[in-house]
Amino acid sequence: MASKLTTSNRAGWAFAFPGFGLLAMFIVVPFFFAFYLSLTNQRLISPNPTEFVGLDNYRSLLSISVLSIEPEVDDAGAVVRNEDGNPKYPRVRTFTRNNPEYPQYAGMREWFRWHSGDTAKVVVATDVVFWKSLRNTLMFVLVVAPVQGAIALGLALLINQRLRAINIYRAIYFMPVVVSIVVVSLLWRFLYAEEGLLNSILGALSFGMFEGRDWLGDPDTALGAIKAMSIWQAVGFHMVIWLSGLQTISPTLYEASSIEGASKWQTFRYVTWPGLRNTAVLVLIVITMQAFALFAQIDVMTNGGPLDSTTTVVFQAVERGYGKQDISGGSAISVVLFLIVLTISLIQRYLTREK
């Protein structure tokens, strides 16, 4: 209904251009720039001209392979075993360093291995740290997205009661959201320290049974500790989104289900949950995108350590693009990250589509 009154190309562009121009310049251009840069050897500051290198950056980032290593045998053909009775294997570097028989493994390093019979299966990659960062990020997302979404829903149901002073509780649950994640990370670094608050609280609750541990210094607990803290900080955000979803459900549906004599669980299962469908998709996508962007917590708390157990994809992108000034390497990581985020949000949208 293009009315004459509201048709104006000049005014339309004049109003939209300042905002759109900035957005195009600082979001759209760098987005496409990332794809281009990832195909070059661009550095932040370099005396040499930039060259086009094709897919080299992706090759060195993503090359991964499984190497089967047979145990060493003695002259009689028997497997050589050490004191514990385990077979002895030739070192991985004999395959990956200057071995003309295995050019495909050149320059790769061991990530992890498993055994099938006496054969050792060794996963080797050119960029082991990147693969670790990918694994850590996926583990983070796989735990944080469902757990945080579920806790947030629980809190929203709790807050959605008609009780006096309930708004005070809602305000408190939401409070960590307005605190910077940098501040939160530093604070929790202290809570997680060996002499820190968490160990004292756990010690007191278990009457001294619990022995303190250095949560962030141990590769087995560091990422878990960061997951717990991240959930604590952001859960209020998603509680509020669930709450606004809950409030769109018509009260008459609840009245009907109470007249029918439905139990609390039945009411949740057949009234509340179906009404939250769209909210669920949104919460899941938002949490997933936020979780993939994991950076500040790592930078403030662990710097990726110990033993790369907390390094993440964004941390690697920044480490390379900024730390090592390797813009092209950092851009390649950014592109990989974007493609993963895009794929996952498309899958989520597909799985939760309207039937």
Binding site: L22, L23, F26, Y173, S180, L191, L282, A293, V335
Partner: protein, 292 residues
């Protein structure tokens, strides 16, 4: 019977409040600890972690950590930088994004739909995936200032402000809100001969209090809490914002009391602001969800 059931109800009500309060403690204890510790000398701070004293203002209470924090780092400068960058960005963002939203909703023009789809598409691009190419981009951009022509935006206020003014979410919020305003009002003003700028300033914006509050709060939180971007584009102390300024406290020796004082200084004003405008803060987060 009646007495028993009302007792039961009282008990159930009490249980509910106990549960709510226990959960509230989980969310609040680190913040209480932060504020209390900021008044304590390091030795006592560490000793107190083993008891409930960690959450109480007891023992040797003083403002010494605050004085020491100011001596260790140019805290005032960092706060000034953050307030300046946040304030200017929020204001410019409200102006330019609302203008864009106004144009998309009330005006018909060529290219409108394509531009709007591009803006919506940027919502699925996390900033973290463009930070590195953007770093290269801003390091090459020219600038004409009072000192004349220069190349490269690193280490400046503008590098912290200009890339953050326009974003898809803010424009989208304005578009959604403007769609619900009565169109007749705008067309009537047109008939009366008002210019588009007059309609924007005198008709539309005065009706847009709620969405302005929402957009301002969201932008404020993003800008004040910035970390990754200033970390990679600002190395000079002169332009450093509060969150990046933290690194001072970890050089040489870690003085936890001073860190807690610094954290309290940069956090409590925001928390106070939040508690006063609590409803608006929560409504602004909720509105990012409802219409998405």
């Amino acid at each position: 019977m009646a007495a028993i059931s009302s007792d039961n109800q009282g008990l159930r009500l009490a249980t509910r409040y106990v549960v709510l309060t226990l959960i509230a403690l989980i969310f609040i204890f680190p913040l209480v600890f932060m504020v209390m510790s900021s008044f304590k000398p390091d030795l006592q701070l560490l000793r107190d972690t083993s008891s409930i004293r960690a959450f109480l203002p007891v023992g040797d209470i003083s403002l010494n950590n605050y004085t020491a924090a100011f001596e260790r780092a140019p805290v005032g400068l960092f706060v000034f930088n953050s307030v300046l960058v946040t304030g200017v960005t929020v204001l410019l963002s409200l102006l330019l994004c609302s203008m864009a939203g106004f144009s998309f909703v009330f005006l018909q023009w060529k290219g409108r739909n394509i531009l709007l789809s591009i803006i919506i598409a940027t919502l699925i691009v996390p900033f973290e995936t463009i930070a590195i190419p953007l770093l290269l981009l801003v390091s090459k951009l020219p600038w004409i200032g009072l000192e004349g022509f220069s190349v490269g935006w690193l280490n400046s206020y503008r590098v912290q402000i200009i890339p953050w003014i326009a974003d898809g979410l803010t424009i989208f919020l304005f578009v959604q809100y403007f769609k619900d305003l009565p169109r007749d009002l705008i067309e009537a003003s047109r008939v009366e001969g008002a210019s588009w700028w007059q309609i924007y300033i005198k008709v539309v914006m005065p009706l847009s209090g709620p969405v302005v509050a929402t957009a301002a709060i969201l932008k404020f939180l993003v800008m004040y809490n910035q970390y990754l971007w200033p970390l990679i584009v600002v190395q000079e102390e002169t332009y450093r914002p509060v969150m990046v300024g933290l690194q001072y406290f970890f050089q040489l020796n870690t003085a936890w009391g001073e860190i807690m004082a610094y954290l309290t200084m940069i956090t409590v004003p925001v928390l106070a602001f939040y508690l006063v405008l609590q409803r608006a803060f929560i409504a602004s987060i909720a509105s990012t969800g409802v219409k998405g």
